[in-house]
Symmetry: C2
Subunit: 413 residues, 2 copies
């Protein structure tokens, strides 16, 4: 497993403040590696409101099944996340391991099993030995502290080369509330939530209905607008918890989707989600370039997103970008195969602000030198206008390098 930090990593990490209502502990349970933390526990001493979005995979992991069932209750007292083993495709042993973990967590947090949420990430198909958590969870629940967000982000990493954290402060009716989020990638990333785990906590006082609605809406242009390799994982989980801890400082309870006081919160939340999503792309396996693809002029926003993802998932486009080649022909190919309306003879394509194609052919003013210079940048913006209507979408991906192949050619070993 490569441990060189991605060249696209942020130069500094946000400092996440403690949030009222949630305590954090991590431990080294020795699931796969002996020398790192691989177990995370979040304890909500007073039940937090829970919302979640999960993988669309028809072969979901045992923890995903478990969370889906508990989400009906909508109350969280504990979240347990382990890295090193996905507990996916593990049959009855897998559901049993999930149940056992939840039982131990419920005991440790002194709550009901229906108030426990779980996530596992790592190799698929290996039985998870939940017994390894037995000695750890009770002590973790006792020792958990508010101020351990960076440790939390580190404990859930797998092939990630850096921890992913983000925080926002926002005003609700005169009271400052906070949103903290952590995430992990870094392979099997594609729309429909691919082996991506992200956990967001706010101290705002928000009802389950509103929280779930916000999460569904926000995911569209953040986690569901990124792709590393088009592969969707069995374990994708995005969960958000509202502790309501800020209520003691005067934050109002929000229980109506139409409540206007939620406006700034929504903006800040969506911004945080996009921030975390971008951090995942920047840590895509083997990534050397961050690529932002915007499609305009499509029949609808949805059509624009399909075309943008067709470009973002094309191995030929991604290898060209790895090779710093402004190969607009492959972008045309990817537009053509997307199956959405596009007028070939009106197509326009820009790389980093340099127009390379106009009216369905090479821009007469095209300069290979100018395009080549743009392609050397660590972030490449591709803009495509397909000449049909007003639909627009932006997605993010990374290049496809030899390192991606190397990392994934021997991941299990």
């Amino acid at each position: 497993m490569t441990k060189t930090i991605s060249p696209l990593a942020p130069t500094s990490f946000a400092e996440l403040p403690g949030l009222e209502g949630v305590r954090i502990a991590t431990a080294a349970a020795g699931i796969k590696h002996a020398d790192r933390t691989d177990l995370l526990l979040l304890v909500f001493d007073k039940a937090a409101v829970a919302a979640g979005v999960f993988t669309q995979s028809l072969c979901p992991s045992a923890p995903v099944d478990f969370c889906r069932a508990n989400l009906a209750g909508g109350r969280a007292r504990a979240l347990v996340v382990n890295s090193g083993n996905a507990n996916a495709f593990t049959g009855k042993k897998g559901s049993e391991a999930a149940r056992l973990t939840a039982e131990m967590a419920a005991q440790a947090a002194n709550c009901d099993m229906g108030e426990v949420f779980l996530a596992s990430t790592g190799v698929i198909g290996e039985p998870l030995n939940a017994g390894k958590f037995a000695g750890a969870l009770a002590g973790m629940a006792k020792e958990a502290l508010q101020d351990r967000w960076m440790e939390a982000a580190r404990a859930i990493m797998t092939t990630d080369t850096y921890p992913k954290v983000a925080t926002r402060a926002v005003d609700i009716a005169g009271t400052e509330v906070r949103i903290n989020g952590i995430a992990k990638g870094a392979g099997m990333i594609a729309p429909d939530m691919a082996t991506m785990l992200s956990f967001i906590v706010t101290d705002a006082d928000i009802s389950r209905d509103v929280l779930q609605t916000l999460l569904h809406e926000g995911v569209e242009n953040s986690f569901n607008a990124i792709t590393v390799d088009s592969d969707t994982s069995t374990s994708d989980t995005l969960m958000m918890f509202a502790t309501g801890g800020a209520a003691t400082r005067g934050a109002p309870a929000i229980s109506d989707r139409a409540d206007e006081r939620i406006g700034a919160f929504k903006t800040a939340l969506f911004d945080l989600m996009k921030d975390l999503a971008h951090q995942i792309v920047r840590d895509g396996e083997g990534a050397r370039k961050m690529v932002e693809i915007t499609v305009t002029g499509a029949a609808s926003n949805k059509a624009a997103k399909v075309i943008a993802l067709s470009i973002a998932n094309s191995p030929l486009v991604k290898t060209a970008i790895a090779g710093e080649d402004a190969n607009w022909g492959r972008v045309v190919m990817a537009v053509g195969k997307a199956g959405q309306e596009a007028i070939r003879d009106k197509l326009q394509i820009w790389f980093g602000g340099i127009r390379v194609a106009l009216n369905g052919e090479r821009d007469p003013d095209y300069s290979e030198a100018a395009a080549a210079s743009v392609m050397k940048e660590p972030k490449i913006d591709v803009l495509v206008d397909v000449g049909v209507g007003n639909g627009k979408a932006t997605v993010w991906t990374c290049d496809l390098t030899k390192e991606y192949v190397a990392i994934n050619g021997d991941y299990r070993s």
Copy 2:
């Protein structure tokens, strides 16, 4: 451009006999490289019946537009193919270059422009200088000979590392007829006919309607069941021509799809198409392993093919195979993301006859050593039963290697 011959190349090439009714010439027109043949002319002295299947891309190349228009006439006197430039995304200049090429070919073959078919393969977005064919085509038409199939296959190569040829002999009502085919790959290969060109000629006497029907049916389990990198080209073209030359030796005219005399011909044709399709996969860019993926137990044959292609196109599955890793977890992931019904807890997976997964978890009898040994073979068979119904499909792909990335990172240069 790499010129190392694929390790999966056939150890010998079929020898294609001349066919009555078609003459062949090749030339070095200097389109991209000075030192190789890049222009192919097939001349049908008596009009042949023509059928074709083309890319589903919404941004098709100028030659594809041209062929589609002429196919309505259904008669062919000449086929011109060039490599080195795809004449795709070349706007009005592109259509003009196609028209000019056809005009010159029509003059050379002394026929109507509506009886000329064209194909171009190579880089996208560069204007094609059809003027380069001006001096060549007239001479080629004169000098063309029946016995030049291998030269034909070589002239249409791009990143292919070997020419692709196949031939079959078959009896129709007591008379032997022949089918010869050539093809080229090798990137942008995916269902819906990706930068793949293939031309098949028979001396049988078959009507246009029957020929087109055969082609449509045969493509489903041959060219549309292979994928190298999921990228669909702007230029995919499969054309078939029936010269009727065998009629002079007593071959009957077949003009009814229900004519039983066509049975053996159909079998031989489909077999030849599959042969050529497999040759394309074996020459996939950077390929080191041929992979045959069979899905059984799906809700329908169509559902089985969707699942099989989801596995075949998964970068994580393909890199694992490149790494000789029997990573069944990634196969589960690909089944899960396919969006077709599959019963997770009934899933069974075999690699090369070794069952690795049973009832939704690792086979209790699984032996890592046995699986590892199978993965070292140059051809890997993956069998997945999804436990739903009787639907079945087989597709073929290759592994994803660092060489693929290298080849495509600097293709234009």
